[in-house]
């Protein structure tokens, strides 16, 4: 590691990138972030003058789908992000180094650049049994997470695991897996939920931090507003069929072939905040609804507990061992109320007419 951190531009020129290619890269990045053309200059200036951002990327309880998504980013290319925009000093699934030398980065970088590096967390820590359900490099992940986060400038929570808990935190959550904001409470945390998040959203968040040297604007739940500001439903290309009331009634019916709305098949688009219907996946090729399958709501909190995936009404009461929809619970309550009313009415009638035998006799 050089004493002075190299700028992005230094690195790119050293790798043989021409000035022309560099400026094209800046324009593309500006476009990918949805900025006006004038910002290409700002990005170029930032990359020429600012040192590369040290990033430590830690993995807890997770499936690595976030990394798998990340490396498929089309604009900017994941390789451009890793090799030119940031200085990825630790990532146990991507780095070549291994063993004690690799683990050293987790102590060296925070000591060398306190308050300047970004900690990216994929997965989450389990708290049960003192964190013994997730051991990396011989130590509980939760301990390492606390240590590395202590001097970080900011923390990125990659995916549903780090942001909300995801499958390992679904009921009954035996390992007590928790989202990282339950462990890291004194640092700004950018939540980039999704299972996995969209590749361009991941690289877009990093590009933004690097370009503007600040965190993107976050919504009330800590997600970048530019990617999570609207629901899938709001920008879904099948929305006209929803408003018309044209729904797919069963898989492979005529409506499904005509591309009608998947609302009745349990699509979670109306309750899911993500950029899938605009950014789409795999370089804009498609996204679940476009391939005829409803949204699972993977970027929402508790998405495993809000099932079933193929029904509009969610099950409630899984915590109590019974699963029922709002209509089943409410309908039962209303039925009990009606039965109670009928029974009370019958008893009242009996009482009313049996209580006054004398009055009735007197009337005769």
């Amino acid at each position: 590691m050089a004493e002075r951190l190299q700028t992005f531009y230094d690195i790119m020129r050293a790798q043989g990138t021409s000035r022309r290619s560099f400026l094209k890269f800046c324009s593309l990045t500006a476009a990918a972030l949805g900025l006006e053309p004038a910002y290409a200059g700002a990005i170029a200036h930032a990359m020429e003058t600012k040192p590369r951002l040290p990033v430590l990327w830690m993995h807890g309880l997770e499936c690595t789908c976030c990394s798998e998504s990340f490396i498929r980013s089309g604009s900017p290319l994941a390789s451009d992000v890793i090799l030119k925009m940031i200085s990825l000093d630790y990532d146990d699934t991507l780095m070549a180094a291994a063993g004690a030398d690799a683990e050293k980065a987790l102590t060296e970088i925070p000591a060398k650049y306190p308050g300047e590096y970004v900690l990216a967390v994929e997965g989450n820590p389990p708290l049960n049994e003192d964190g013994m359900y997730c051991i990396t490099g011989g130590r509980p992940f939760v301990e390492k997470l606390r240590e590395v986060a202590a001097n970080a400038k900011a923390v990125i929570a990659w995916g549903a695991c780090a942001s909300w808990g995801c499958v390992q935190a679904a009921r009954p959550n035996p390992t007590q897996a928790v989202p990282i904001d339950k462990v890291i409470t004194d640092k700004p945390i950018i939540k980039v939920p999704g299972c996995p998040p969209i590749a361009e959203v991941m690289t877009g968040v990093i590009s933004y931090i690097v370009t503007f040297n600040r965190l993107p604007e976050l919504d009330s739940r800590g997600r970048p507003a530019m990617f999570y500001g609207q629901r899938i439903h709001d920008k879904c290309y099948r929305r006209p069929h929803f408003d018309a009331g044209e729904f797919v009634q069963s898989w492979d019916d005529d409506g499904a072939r005509k591309g009608y709305c998947l609302y009745k098949m349990g699509c979670k688009g109306p309750t899911t905040y993500n950029a899938c219907s605009t950014t789409r996946w795999n370089g804009g090729v498609s996204f679940p609804i476009q391939s005829g399958h409803g949204c699972l709501g993977c970027s929402e909190d508790h998405f495993w507990d809000n099932g079933p995936f193929y029904s509009r009404l969610a099950n409630i009461g899984a915590a109590f061992g019974i699963e029922a929809t709002a209509d089943e619970i409410g309908g039962t309550a209303a039925g009990i109320a009606l039965a109670g009313v009928a029974a009370h009415a019958a008893a009242s009638a009996v009482k009313h007419f049996s209580a006054k035998p004398k009055d009735h006799e007197g009337e005769k």
């Binding site: 439903h233 018309a244 009331g245 409506g255 609302y263 709501g297 409410g330 309908g331 009482k351 009313h352």
Partner: protein, 235 residues
């Protein structure tokens, strides 16, 4: 409004009628009924669009759009009515406060509650006479209707703000959605609370009809003309 003339019921002159429900309260009651009925029907249709398969150019049809539009307009009427009714708690007569601020601090209120429960359990032979709502009705209306309606208004505008943006997004969606954990949870609770109010409606309609027949005062007509009329002259 002038009082209806006291009338005889065969056993002598009855107690003079009392003006209980002022005009705004009565209008609110019936507007509520209308809005709530529309909200229940359209709400159930939004949760389960059960109509047969539709076909054709989407811009010729706006079925789900209209169902949702009616739901939103009824919701606005329901919410504005609720706001006006809360205002009336402060400027209306004493009876206007009963279901919003039941007098749980008063011994007499609890005593009345006990008397009412005994009457409903058919332990007592004679109905207690109440000018306004009896304490049990006050408690039920506060817990089931007032709190239920407030819950529906808050969660409803939070869900509305998700799509509509603007003030409902700022005032409601911004904190309600995170509070419940997510949009799906708010939908589920909003749906459950509809049933909660519906259970109230079932009990309310039954009780009103039962009391109109079995108690010693007129109940149903009071919400139409505002006057509580009594059937006898005993305390």
């Amino acid at each position: 409004m002038s009082a209806p003339a006291p009338h005889a019921n065969g056993t002598g002159v009855v107690k003079a009628p009392v003006y209980v429900y002022e005009l705004p309260v009565r209008i609110w009651h019936w507007v509520n009924l209308f809005a709530f009925a529309l909200l229940v029907v359209t709400g159930l249709l939004i949760a389960r669009p059960i109509w047969p398969q539709l076909d054709g150019e989407p811009y010729h049809l706006y079925v789900m759009g209209w169902v949702r539009e009616i739901h939103f307009v009824s919701a606005y009427i329901f919410a504005v009515g609720f706001a006006v009714r809360v205002y009336w708690v402060f400027v209306g007569n004493a009876h206007a406060r009963e279901i919003f601020l039941p007098a749980v601090w008063s011994c007499a209120w609890w005593k009345g509650m006990w008397t009412t429960i005994r009457w409903y359990l058919m332990i007592d032979r004679e109905a207690p006479v109440e000018v306004g709502h009896n304490p049990l009705a006050q408690a039920a209306m506060f817990l089931l209707f007032v709190l239920g309606a407030l819950f529906q208004i808050v969660t409803g505008f939070a869900l509305y703000g998700e799509g509509a943006g603007g003030w409902s997004a700022r005032l409601f969606s911004s904190w309600v959605i995170p509070l419940f954990g997510g949009s799906m949870e708010v939908h589920t609770w909003h749906h459950l609370a509809m049933w909660y109010i519906l259970v109230f409606v079932i009990i309310h309609i039954y009780m009103v009809i039962r009391e109109d027949i079995m108690s010693r005062a007129a109940i149903v007509s009071a919400m139409i003309n505002g006057w509580r009329m009594f059937k006898d002259n005993r305390p």
